[in-house]
């Protein structure tokens, strides 16, 4: 089985976001960047598929030099091959998908895995855009994946429950937390990843469809009101719920 997994490189969840000087992007200084947490589930699932069906796992990432760190993380977990699509440009989901599709058309994987969204722009588009551009089915926000011959059965999270989706290979899957428990790379894996070569590919020209005009911080709230310091404040709280918020 030929398995591809696409990863992005993002500031970790404890990061404080500061708007950069251009007023459109974040200031990356002082931030720790990590492999997108949802992509770790995708990498883990890719490795499990390889263990079950044999084959090869290729990881792809689009971006600046530092995205190679996430490719190396995937190497340390056990991925066979890595492709870095080089670009200095700030790409939107559409442009990212287009560049991935160029490479995926060469690799022709049976299954392509993504995280359900990257935790920077939170758009959750790239995986599904890639599927439609490749004219293959996709299932998003997947918490369980089963493959039999070319039949694919997935559980995906929906509001208030889950649904079972059936489809066929080749397919794009976007991973949700709960799909698996990602493995920790062992020392041998980490050491091997350091010297393992990454294939570099120059990016072709793409045109963004989204223009960022401004990045800003959410307005901070005025100081809240402390109603009390024990259970005696409950009456005041009910008063607030009833008279001020009119919710009960």
């Amino acid at each position: 089985m030929k398995i591809a997994v696409c990863v992005s490189h993002v500031p970790d969840t404890t990061s404080k976001i500061i708007v950069g000087q251009d007023g459109k992007n974040i200031d990356p200084n002082g931030l720790t960047f990590i492999i997108n947490p949802y992509d770790e589930f995708a990498v883990e699932e890719a490795l499990r598929l390889k263990e079950k069906f044999t084959g090869e796992v290729v990881v792809l990432s689009v971006g600046k030099d530092f995205v190679k760190e996430s490719i190396k993380k995937a190497y340390a977990m056990g991925v066979d091959k890595g492709i870095w699509i080089k670009t200095e440009a700030e790409l939107d989901s559409h442009s990212t998908a287009k560049l991935l599709v160029e490479q995926l058309n060469i690799i022709k994987p049976d299954i392509i895995l993504f995280g359900k969204q990257s935790i920077d722009y939170d758009s959750g588009q790239v995986g599904i855009l890639v599927a439609e551009m490749l004219n293959i089915p996709s299932v998003s926000v997947v918490t369980k994946l089963e493959i039999n011959d070319n039949k694919v059965s997935c559980e995906r999270e929906i509001e208030g429950g889950k649904e079972t989706v059936e489809t066929k290979l080749p397919v794009v899957i976007t991973a949700q937390k709960g799909l698996n428990e990602p493995r920790y790379p062992n020392l041998k894996g980490i050491m091997a990843a350091k010297s393992k070569p990454i294939q570099e590919v120059a990016s072709t020209s793409v045109e963004n469809k989204i223009e960022i005009l401004k990045m800003k911080k959410p307005e901070s709230k005025s100081k809240g009101r402390i109603l009390g310091s024990d259970a005696s404040a409950v009456k005041e709280l009910i008063n607030v719920l009833h008279n001020e918020l009119k919710l009960v």
Binding site: P11, T14, S15, K16, I17, K24, Y38, S93, H94, I119, D120, Y121, G124, Q125, I128, L129, E132, P137, S138, V139, V141, E157, E159, G160, G161, K162, E163, T164, V165, E166, Q176, K177, N208, K209, I210, E211, I212, L213, K214, M215, K216, P218, K221, G224, R225, I226, L227, G228, S229, D230, A231, A233, V234, K235, L237, I238, V240, H242, L247, V248
Partner: protein, 323 residues
């Protein structure tokens, strides 16, 4: 300006968030000489059309067939693309639900359209639609515009106001021509947790954090949620500890929510959690640590032990509500 709004329905009921999108489409169209087309797809829709006609669509396109009872990303996207082309719509609205977020990128790729996900504000300035949307799970916001001819937006639930409007909508049946290939991906089965509200859709959320001390104490959160008609939420540490399911997790790597009221019980307010809930309209925090970061974001706070405050609150609310 011609806005096409996809109306999502499940089990004979239209999603409220789709009607919010429709209401907002009507508001934009009526002040910009525009027109609004609502499209609904499903098995048997006759009981839903009356409600749908109250929210300002100039035209309602109905696509019903037992085969469309359950969602199929491949079939639904084909139907919508055909209708968008036929109607010459240049603006497409969907609600940012699990279905909307799955469907919208398929439309965008096929129509070579730009897609803006999870919009929380849409205004028109000098003929441009300017969108605000949260990024980094709400730690920052960006203003963006789309440059493509066809523009697609998913609107975050619970943000845009619902508004009834009297317009005599023209109704039209649409019969798509589909083959088996169009159903290559389909929903076979839906399993809903009975009677449970989802944090992504709820007007009120009651969240429990580490301060609840163990899964056995979450009955307090559940009871309070029940009384208020609220959904139960959980912080990341509580989910990671296995006390609550991931579907309840609020915050970065969980759900980003904007309810009318958010009640945080025993939640300290880690930055990842704040990101996911700080856009709630009103926030109440109950925590015994007066220095907990959550109090910086709360409109109302009780600095007290959840194990004293919650039982008292439940008791008093029952009396107040006559339950």
């Amino acid at each position: 300006m011609k806005i096409l709004v996809y109306i999502e329905q499940r089990e004979n009921s239209i999603k409220k968030s789709s009607l919010e999108a429709l209401s907002y489409a009507n508001l934009l169209a009526s002040s910009n000489n525009g027109e609004v087309v609502a499209v609904i797809i499903g098995g048997d829709l006759n009981n839903q059309l009356n409600e749908l006609s109250k929210y300002g669509a100039n035209k309602i396109i109905v696509c019903q067939d037992p085969k469309f009872e359950k969602y199929s990303s491949s079939a639904y996207s084909k139907i919508l693309i055909d209708i968008i082309k036929k109607e010459n719509a240049n603006i497409i609205f969907l609600s940012a639900t699990s279905l909307g977020k799955d469907l919208a990128p398929r439309l965008a790729a096929k129509l070579d359209a730009g897609l803006c996900s999870d919009c929380t504000s849409i205004v028109i300035e000098n003929n441009d639609m300017i969108i605000t949307r949260p990024v980094y799970a709400g730690k920052a916001l960006i203003d963006v515009k789309l440059k493509s001819e066809i523009k697609i937006y998913t609107l975050r639930p619970n943000v845009f106001p619902l508004k009834e409007v009297t317009i005599n909508a023209q109704k039209e049946e649409y019969k798509p021509e589909l083959t088996d290939l169009d159903f290559i991906s389909f929903v076979k089965e839906i399993t809903l947790s009975k009677g449970k509200k989802d944090v992504a859709e709820a007007d009120i959320i009651v969240t429990g954090g580490r301060g609840m001390k163990g899964p056995e104490h979450f009955h307090l959160i559940e009871e309070l949620a029940d009384l208020l008609g609220a959904a139960v939420g959980a912080s990341r540490s509580v989910v990671d500890a296995g006390w609550r399911p991931h579907s309840e997790q609020v915050g970065q790597t969980g759900k980003t929510v904007s309810p009318t009221l958010y009640i945080a019980c025993g939640v300290s307010g880690a930055i990842q959690h704040i990101a996911g809930m700080s856009s709630s309209k009103h926030i109440i925090a109950i925590n015994k640590d007066k220095d907990a970061p959550i109090f910086q974001y709360a409109d109302y706070g009780i600095v007290g032990d959840v194990f004293e405050v919650l039982p008292e609150l439940i008791k008093e609310l029952k009396v107040f509500l006559g339950k």
